[in-house]
Amino acid sequence: MPEMATILEVLFIIFKVVVVTMILFSLPLPLTWMERKIAAHIQVRLGPFRVGPHGVLQPFADMMKLMFKEDIIPYKADKRLFRIAPIISMVPVLAAFAVVPFGNDITIPFLNEEVSLYIADMDVAILYILAITGIGVYGIIFGGWASNSKYALLGGIRSTAQMISYELPMSLAAIGVVMITNSLSLVNIVNAQQGWHWNIIYQPLGFFIFFIASLAEINRIPFDLPEDEGTLAAGYHVEYSAMRFSFFMLTEYVAMVLASVLAVLLFFGGWNGPGFLPSIVWFVVKVSVFIYFFMWIRFTLPRYRYDQLMTIGWKILLPLSLFNVLITGFFLI
């Protein structure tokens, strides 16, 4: 018979998993609304306005529509792969949140129990996140390949090449942070940035590389070549409809949140901030700023050409990130 404390701990972990998953699943609702509103206002439009005040209920209407639409599977598609591809692409980004810390430990009022705001503090958290988000590319490859359509296949292949290319500079940029904090654990990294010693001050180049590479990793403009409407119709998900399509969309939004979260944790001091607000509020504020920044960039920049994408990845970002590691090592010694 396990002890009471152990059971309580396990229950807390399960509770945290459920809460985090629910939040992640519901995040695309406000995010799609936000993205459409920001897009509209940048283009001096109003955006969704008819469903609810200022269109806040529009995502729910879209969700209902996506749920009840017909799920079409192309006749010549590889049916099994076609079915599981959206799930393969969705699971890794959700799994990556298992090691993301959201704030300082808080004490629950009635139970008097100290609760940590992360599911697991892994020894190799950064490595785990980088590794598991790399798996997300399989959803895109399989989705593209199983559709048996040339646009989808081209989108899948482009995405593969793009994600492999940009994973390198992204990891190397993260290594700079790891070098100055001496830990792979995200909690330790954030704790090392207390008192305004944010890593952005020590690693500006690293941050730039990380940010650009994460833009490419989550397939957002200016690097959204896998779903380039101009040349590929819609890219890897051109044959998808209904809920499977929305899984891809959900993945995209959660990946954007993950990229913002990582940028905040690694370079912007995580939940550290002036003490008048709880740590988790600071964290959410910083992440929201980053999400806004991602959307802002999306409606500012045009899309890169494929050769430009590869040039940026291999000829600019990779040498720069190696250089960054080199200088960081130099200063540490």
């Binding site: 920001i38 509209a40 206002h41 940048i42 283009q43 001096v44 439009r45 109003l46 306005f49 008819r50 802002w296 960039i297 409606f299 500012t300 920049l301």
Partner: protein
Amino acid sequence: MSDGYILEKRKESAVETFFNRIFFIDFIKGLSLTLKYNLSRSITLRYPDEEKWIPYKRFRGQHTLNRDEYGRELCVGCELCAKSCPTDCITVIPMEDSAGRGIADRVARVWEVNLTRCMFCGLCEDACPTEALKLGREYELSCFSLSNAVMDKDRILIAGQGEPLDLEATGAEPKGWMKVSLDSIDYITPLDFKKGDRVPANYEGGVNAAASLERTEDGIRVVPDLSKTKKWW
């Protein structure tokens, strides 16, 4: 917006180019521009639910045939409008009528304009010797049947059966613009003519008025509220 177009790009020195590359100057310029637009007011009209655009006086919308201050038809059926029309969309058939219906003995028996062909150039308006024909401010011309797009005299002649109108109240000019009789119209109209709330002829226009969308048995009407207007752009 003061930023205008850059007609000729200034030649950059190598140092400047390097500086721009390193600090992403172009990137920051682009971002600040979009941020400015993001914070600026949106130009979208929430038509037809809440707002409606009231055009300027000079706007060329649907035709109206006017009367003089005693309620006589100004049109003398001279067919100049039909002759001047570049798209041949106006049909005029004159007739003799000495009962005082018009300002002359000659009036139009048939006056039709086919709005599907009309391009609202205003040449007919210019050609009219008696200023009977005016292009009004009406622009909500969608209809369910193409036959409704052919406007005949009954639908565009301003109402007022012989009796002089109260010029002080309407602020109408001596000739023209009294009251449009559009009882038989079944297309979507912004002005509820039955209620009599319409845009006065001398109203300057060019504003964005609050409006409400009314669903009636006759169809949908967008009714503007001229007391709540704001300049648009």
